[in-house]
């Protein structure tokens, strides 16, 4: 068993399941000429109707909530200009705040668009 599975603890059952399930023999596929592939798969592009909205926000929403949260925390006195290095996690309006240590000094600033780092080779969408 790979130790990473043990470290995360989440998937060891899954892994042994997949290891023991080589019962489904995947036939050795032939390299086909380009055009045949889709036909052989008998797959069409699907009309996608039922995609659920991701449960994590886009950047705009995130920054908006973070600033709202900053205002709430300031109002309740949870965040002051003196950082108390507390690691308490706050929950407000369905979003989880950073610990105050991370927030102080950030939320007091006016909203800043997140910096875009230059794309790197590994960041390109999969081809």
């Amino acid at each position: 068993m790979c130790s990473i599975y043990e470290a995360t603890g989440a998937t060891s059952g899954h892994l042994s399941q997949i290891r023991n399930s080589s019962v489904h023999h995947v036939e050795k596929s032939r390299l086909t000429s380009k055009w045949q592939a889709t036909t052989m798969c008998n797959m069409d592009v699907q009309r996608v109707k039922d995609f659920t909205k991701p449960s994590y926000p886009d950047r705009k929403e995130f920054l908006r909530n973070r600033n709202l949260l900053g205002a709430v925390l300031l109002g309740t006195g949870l965040v002051t200009s003196a950082c108390n290095k507390t690691e308490t996690v706050h929950r407000t309006q369905g979003i989880v705040a950073q610990p105050a240590r991370r927030l102080s000094g950030v939320i007091l600033e006016s909203p800043q668009p997140a910096k875009e780092a230059p794309p790197q080779p590994g960041d390109k969408p999969s081809r």
Binding site: V26, A37, T38, S55, P121
Partner: protein, 374 residues
């Protein structure tokens, strides 16, 4: 403009799924390499002047196996660095290698010269040796694992590229675990869209992405984030509300691949054995061929009607010309298998993104919302 030099058609491996075409002994001459670089840099400088942007270019080496032409690779790099410096171009460097010729010396040289190294390695021995064999039919994992040690020891920049194939997909999760265990933090999947995927293989693919998603979450929880392209790309695309223009490749516009004989192609995946004239858009001696190039540029994108109403179209790479061509024969028609995979990645990425956001994992927030670790 980004330029990839296909240094040779020769390769000491015979991978089952290779899309680089038949293997034969034809390499690029120094003169062709030099002229290709001159062309790309002149184009880059002219473009920068026109758009008032800082000139940038990426030099890539591809093959066959480019390390078979190690001296040419070094010469071309030295020339490119000197020329780019003279013109004021910021130059990124990449090479994709099968690792069999990557020794300590090569790894150190690549690091010293600022290369991003694409290591073609299909994870653990069981998966890798099923499909990646040497030209005399022997397994190659042992050699590659040794090269991986040199790579790690050199501290070079790079990523492991795993081909996802129906023959090996059931070993994918195990392979990713093996890589993460070996402290590989950047992993890219390159699915083989040119073969038939039967329903059993598709189900295994889906299952594998669930398992790998769990690993991804575990790594973030342990504050040891791992980059996996199918998750990172889709989460970034969610956070940014779709792919941005800079996320897309240059496909013949800001990107060319030059074959050993000096022909220009829009992407390295289209070079093959360099015999398909319909895919060429220029030559080192003549520059761009306007008519075919303009046709390529005008036809980029995706014309499949179903996609126009798809709720995830902004996060789908249905516009990737080389993948579309490989799967359907048209650069602007996405195939069913790519559609399946895009939906699979988006669902898997949204599951892990939702968990990591809900748990407020700092590395996740920094990477995707604050841009610290991109």
């Amino acid at each position: 403009m980004d330029v990839t030099l296909c240094l040779t058609h020769a390769c000491n491996m015979r991978c089952d799924y290779c899309y680089a075409g038949p293997k034969f002994a034809r390499s690029m001459s120094w003169d062709t390499a030099r002229r290709a670089l001159d062309f790309a840099f002149a184009h880059t400088a002219e473009q920068a002047e026109r758009t008032q942007h800082d000139p940038e270019s990426q030099l890539g080496f591809f093959g066959g196996e480019p390390l078979l032409e190690w001296n040419l690779l070094k010469m071309a790099t030295e020339y490119a660095v000197a020329e780019a410096g003279r013109i004021g171009i910021r130059l990124k460097r990449t090479v994709t290698t099968n690792m069999t010729l990557l020794g300590e010396e090569e790894a150190l040289w690549l690091r010293e010269n600022g290369f991003h190294v694409g290591l073609s390695l299909d994870g653990c021995a069981k998966m890798h040796d099923l499909v990646r064999r040497t030209s005399d039919g022997n397994p190659s994992h042992e050699i590659c694992a040794r090269a991986l040690d040199f790579f790690r020891g050199s501290d070079a920049n790079g990523e492991v590229i795993l081909v996802v194939d129906p023959r090996t997909v059931e070993l994918l999760a195990e392979s990713v675990a093996w890589l993460i265990d070996g402290n590989i933090r950047r992993i890219s999947f390159s699915p083989n869209f040119t073969v038939a995927w039967n329903p059993v293989a598709l189900a295994k693919w889906k299952h594998a992405y669930t398992l790998i998603g769990d690993l991804y979450v575990g790594c973030y929880r342990n504050n040891r984030p791992v980059n996996i392209n199918v998750f990172d790309g889709k989460i970034h695309a969610r956070v940014n509300n779709g792919y941005r223009p800079c996320d897309r490749c240059g496909f013949g516009e800001n990107e060319i691949t030059v074959s050993t004989t000096g022909n220009f192609y829009p992407c390295e995946r289209l070079v093959g054995d360099d015999s398909n004239a319909a895919l060429r858009i220029g030559h080192v001696s003549d520059g761009f061929y306007s008519a075919p190039r303009n046709q390529f540029l005008a036809n980029r994108g995706n014309v499949v009607a179903e996609c126009s109403v798809c709720p995830v179209r902004g996060r789908c790479v249905n516009w990737c010309g080389c993948v579309n061509y490989a799967a359907t024969g048209f650069i602007n028609r996405v195939s069913g298998i790519v559609c399946y995979h895009e939906r699979l990645c988006i669902e898997a990425a949204d599951r892990v993104g939702g968990i990591l956001f809900e748990e407020n994992i700092p590395a996740f927030i920094d990477t995707f919302y604050l841009g610290c670790h991109r």
